[in-house]
């Protein structure tokens, strides 16, 4: 039977798990509104978090004694830190960086590191410290039980965020709720232990005050000096803000201004460059939009305009603030654009894509060979596909040149005529009928008037510039495909070139630290490290592949994340039940992980969309069950004492951190999905070799890997 103290401590562990996942996810979203929202930054944020958590775990060895009172007060601090962290991120950003600017790699990394350090270190520290506190009363308390209980908290937190909080509450309010739960758990732990409750009340009051301050200051922390905040909303896809300034409305998505009223240039270019090419356009498909587009579309007497917008909150805001208006034949469809193109029976005279730069795996899906093939199948014989990427003023820099070359080479495989126009953006006009670059002439034939094109086109997009762009294409640049996202590689190169920086030293330092780490860890820890890396890497792969095959469906993606967390629990329970915990179980589970990865490859190669979605959930579950199963085995083989617990927790976290970063920032962009999956298999094979090469009794002191 559990003692009151044990119940209270386990309660703290569960709620800490809930709070830490919710805090991590809100912190991630916050950073994405402040910094470039590319995969590199996402991976960096998660990497930082997990590494700092691992370091915090290692620090748990230092206190000579762990007491419930100390745990209680540390937990109280944990209940205040998320709000402090989020406020610090928002306010410090403009103090450290030039307001309105996007900083480069190293400033971004350092800012993320220092603002998340206090919370991430402490949350990593609290987990083993909870175990040591329990072992103060029950010296043989199993470490696996803490791992399991923490998992329960993590899964609950993930599910709570994905399926409830993100819909119902703003970040500060959500943190208030989960931190209140944590504070209550801390108070319940402390309450029977202290002679006077005054200190608990004071502590609780301070924590409450801090959390309430977060709620009170929330809108203030979002306000900008250059406009009035007229709309703020957290949707499942990100943050939406509308600012009003001198009659102009600007829509910000995740901190980036995407739409403004009074911007005729982009609207005219997006609409007229493609539609002027079509004899009598009737049906048009638009994926995402630019402000003012509808007014330009109206000039064509269209029968049907299907407008696909992933986030219903965005389309609602667009119409509410006059960024778009309703026109005849308009139908707004909220959903994934790629899925729609794949599934619809409609045929169109024009498909116009207005998406942001392909800087994430999610957006890259619309710039691949496979998508262009889908789009072509939905076009009428004389139909046209139009999409764009960022423009250049007077010189096409090398990474940009490669990006445009890759897109040109990719789309040219599908369409016999591709013309590029170097306007405010670089527009690709793709058709199987000839495409003219003399847009004013075409518009003149149709009798369509424009404010910008007629007056500026020949000056801004003259023959010389069009020829310069066409002449810059490198036919040898690789194509961009779903399985090999070349755009992502270019995106990183562009990002680093923009700031004249390179990740070289960062990579060297991380590799150096990694080598040092490998020289110090035991075989069992190496297994956990590689399993952590494999599990997180597999999660990214599975989500990526799922999106390609089925589209970005928020709830289903959230479910994959939850399944990856949830499987750890039954795995750990099973592993705990094994009587003779030997290395053979590590080898078997490693082999199981390899089989799962091989299954992923087979799905990619042979399955495609005919593969039922349930298979993805099943693979996710298997991987996380195997990962969870290994933990108690490895812990037991390490001796199960306090230092062993610290090191195994830490190995799991640092492995996960490495998996996220290496997969997102390197393997997928540079090697492609298939080779990235093979890379995980190779990683697991090294783990098998390392464990398999060990000699002597299982319970002997383990030796380091290198």
């Amino acid at each position: 039977m559990k003692s009151p103290s044990e119940k209270a401590i386990l309660r703290v562990v569960v709620v800490t798990g809930i709070s830490s996942i919710v805090t991590q996810l809100y912190t991630l979203r916050e950073f994405l509104t402040l910094f470039a929202g590319n995969e590199y930054v996402i991976a960096l944020i998660i990497f930082n978090w997990l590494v700092l958590g691992g370091l915090g775990t290692m620090a748990a060895r230092f206190p000579s004694r762990a007491t419930p009172v100390a745990l209680g007060f540390l937990t109280s601090v944990l209940a205040a830190l998320p709000t402090v962290q989020l406020l610090a991120v928002r306010y410090l950003h403009d103090m450290v960086f030039v307001h309105g600017s996007s900083p480069g790699f190293y400033p971004t990394y350092l800012f993320i590191l220092f603002t998340t350090m206090p919370y991430a270190l402490l949350v990593g520290f609290v987990l083993p410290y909870s175990l040591f506190t329990l072992r103060g009363e029950m010296p043989h308390y199993p470490g696996t039980r803490i791992y399991i209980v923490d998992n329960v908290g993590d899964v609950t937190g993930g599910a709570l965020f994905s399926f409830a909080l993100v819909y119902l509450l703003t970040p500060m309010k959500a943190l208030f709720v989960v931190n209140l739960m944590l504070l209550v758990a801390a108070c319940l732990l402390l309450s029977p232990l202290l002679r006077t409750r005054l200190s608990i009340v004071v502590c609780a009051a301070v924590v409450m005050a801090i959390n309430m301050a977060g709620v009170v200051l929330e809108n203030n922390s979002l306000c900008s000096a250059e406009g009035e905040l007229v709309h703020y909303e957290e949707t499942m896809f990100g943050r939406l803000v509308v600012q009003k300034s001198d009659g102009q409305y600007t829509l910000f998505e995740d901190g980036v201004p995407v739409f403004s009223t009074d911007n005729t240039i982009l609207a005219e270019e997006a609409v007229h460059y493609p539609l002027s090419q079509v004899e009598n356009p009737n049906d048009v498909l638009i994926i995402s939009s630019v402000a003012g587009m509808m007014g330009e579309l109206e000039k064509y007497s269209l029968e049907k305009v299907d407008y696909i917008q992933l986030d219903p909150a965005v389309s609602a805001v667009e119409f509410r603030f006059g960024l778009l208006r309703t026109i005849k034949g308009l139908q707004v469809i909220n959903g994934d654009g790629r899925s729609y193109v794949r599934d619809t029976a409609s045929r169109y005279d024009a498909i116009i894509i207005n998406l942001p730069e392909p800087e994430t795996f999610q957006v890259n899906r619309f710039f691949t060979n496979e998508f262009f093939s889908l789009a072509q199948a939905r076009l009428r014989p004389q139909g046209i596909l139009s999409f764009s990427v960022s423009g250049f003023d007077n010189y096409l820099a090398e990474p940009h040149r490669q990006k445009i070359s890759s897109l040109y080479n990719t789309v040219r495989d599908r369409f016999s005529h591709v013309t590029m126009l170097p306007g405010e953006k670089v527009y690709f006009l793709c058709s199987n009928s000839p495409v003219s670059d003399d847009i004013p002439e075409l518009l003149g034939q149709k009798g369509i008037e424009t404010a910008y094109i007629h007056s500026y086109f020949y000056g801004n997009i003259n023959k010389g510039r069009i020829d310069y762009l066409a002449g810059s294409i490198d036919a040898s640049t690789p194509r961009n495909t779903d399985m090999s996202p070349f755009m992502m590689r270019i995106m990183y190169a562009q990002w680093f070139a923009k700031y004249s920086t390179s990740p070289y030293w960062f990579t060297v330092i991380i590799c150096g630290i990694a080598l040092f780490y490998f020289s110090r860890i035991t075989r069992e820890e190496f297994v956990l490290f590689t399993t952590g890396a494999t599990t997180m890497g597999a999660e990214i792969l599975v989500i990526f592949i799922f999106q390609i095959l089925y589209g970005y469906i928020y709830l289903k993606v959230g479910l994959i994340v939850t399944v990856f967390l949830a499987g750890l629990l039954p795995g750990a329970l099973l592993g705990q039940k094994i009587r003779n915990k030997s290395r053979k179980f590590l080898l078997l589970t490693d082999a199981g992980l390899i089989v799962c990865m091989a299954l992923v490859i087979m799905v990619l190669h042979y399955g495609g969309q005919s593969v039922p979605q349930a298979l993805f959930y099943s693979v996710a579950l298997c991987i996380s069950v195997l990962c969870g199963f290994q933990f108690p085995i490895a812990l037991a083989l390490r001796g199960g004492d306090n230092p062993a617990a610290i090191r195994t927790f830490s190995a799991d976290l640092t492995g996960a951190a490495s998996g996220v970063f290496i997969m997102s920032a390197f393997m997928i962009p540079y090697a492609g999905i298939l080779w990235a999956t093979l890379g995980l298999i190779v990683l697991k094979c090294t783990s098998i070799m390392v464990v398999g090469m060990s000699h002597g009794k299982d319970q002997q002191a383990s030796i380091s890997v290198l």
């Binding site: 960086f97 009340v201 980036v256």
Partner: protein
């Protein structure tokens, strides 16, 4: 165990409830200004040891520099005044110290060559409807966070693909394409001063106009030399605040003001461009101060262009400038006394047109680069005969530009 008293409970609860309110009142993090606590200066630094191993064919000895002890040199072209040890590269990235001599690495190797309408510079009061043969080499002495040409301004000459066009070739090409002028533009022509001045001298001899499109960050002596061959200029007055110059552009205000005074004194036609950046230069009081300074030092006849900002380069998280703000600034500047005030990056706006400062009639209607209406004859308003400052093409009243065409 001691029970908590009612007083203690109430005191703590009240404290918990009041704390956030007090916090907000005295909150030091209120959003009263976009500028609170930001970094002070983004001025570029010298690149130590970054000179190439050997000079290439696009090198020329620096136009103006001083040799110092220990084989050091100090460049005298712009206020950065880079002091370079052997092997160092300047802030603008185009000059290096090789063996105690300053060399430019941007002589004859433009990375960008285009034919642009002159209105694009923007130059509205100089030879309208003509074409400018526009060239730029890599480099810039500032670090503007919203640079639209950062791909060539914030890189070294070795990092870009270039053409081979030495000064005589530039002039020949300009004539071949029937351009009336050569524009030194896009990046920062001060950073390729040697190339620019030699080309400009040849161009002048051959009857071509020379246009300088610049940030104005140049020293007196080279500027005077340039004024001897210059016909028109558009110089950016990025803000009227030294703090913003350092924070957003990595420069200083006073040298730019000095540039305007010198050009005015030398009688060079120039137009002033001010980019209105939300949260930074969209300050009406600053605009008034700027206008007062212009009137006091330069007079009322130099055209002033307010440009609409769009997010770009590193400054990509601000909204575009509201058109209403630009209109307000235009009205303010006209009220203050500046005669010709234009709006840029706003298509189909009356702020693109030229109106007579005396009778208020429409003199030049601009629809982009297309000019359907032109009522200036012999540099005078055709209605009231007032002199309109600038250099005007020889168009007769009623002469219309045909609809634009590819040509």
């Amino acid at each position: 165990m001691e029970r908590i008293s009612r007083r203690q409970f109430l005191s703590c609860s009240a404290a918990a409830l009041l704390a956030p309110c007090v916090f907000q009142v005295f909150c030091p993090f209120g959003r009263t200004s976009a500028r609170a606590g930001e970094p002070v200066d983004i001025t570029g630094k010298i690149f130590k040891g970054a000179a190439p191993r050997e000079l290439w064919k696009f090198s020329r000895e620096g136009f103006l520099y001083t040799k110092l002890e220990g084989n050091k040199v100090v460049c005298r072209i712009c206020p950065n005044g880079c002091v370079l040890s052997e092997g160092d590269r300047s802030v603008c990235r185009s000059k290096v110290n090789m063996g105690g001599t300053l060399y430019s690495l941007t002589y004859g190797n433009p990375c960008s060559v285009n034919i642009d309408p002159i209105e694009k510079k923007p130059l509205f009061h100089f030879m309208p409807k003509t074409q400018a043969f526009s060239i730029a080499a890599a480099g810039c002495n500032l670090r503007c966070m919203n640079c639209q040409n950062w791909e060539i301004s914030q890189v070294t000459p070795e990092e870009v693909r270039t053409y081979e066009l030495f000064p005589p070739d530039v002039v020949k090409a300009a004539k071949k394409y029937q351009a009336a002028s050569i524009a030194y533009t896009y990046s920062e022509p001060t950073s390729f001063f040697e190339y620019m001045i030699d080309t400009a001298r040849l161009a002048k001899d051959q009857g071509l106009y020379n246009l300088w499109i610049s940030n104005g960050y140049i020293n007196r002596k080279p500027l005077l030399e340039l004024c001897g061959v210059l016909d028109a200029a558009n110089v950016n007055l990025k803000s009227f605040d030294d703090d913003i110059y350092r924070r957003l552009n990595g420069g200083r205000l006073e040298p730019v003001l000095s540039t305007f005074r010198i050009m005015h004194g030398e009688g060079v036609h120039f137009e002033i461009t001010n980019l209105v950046v939300p949260g930074y230069t969209d300050d009406k009081e600053m605009v008034k101060r700027m206008c007062s300074w212009i009137l006091e030092n330069l007079g009322q006849d130099h055209p002033l262009h307010f440009l609409r900002f769009f997010p770009r380069y590193k400054l990509d998280r601000l909204p575009p400038t509201p058109v209403a703000t630009l209109e307000e600034f235009r009205r303010t500047a006209i009220r203050e006394g500046i005669r010709y005030v234009y709006l840029g990056n706003v298509p189909e706006h009356e702020g693109n047109n030229t109106y007579c400062h005396n009778c208020g009639k429409l003199l030049v209607e601009r629809k982009g680069y297309y000019i359907p209406t032109y009522h200036i004859e012999e540099s005078r308003c055709t209605f009231c005969k007032s002199e309109i400052p600038g250099t005007w093409a020889a168009h007769s009243a009623g002469d219309r530009e045909t609809k634009p065409s590819r040509g």
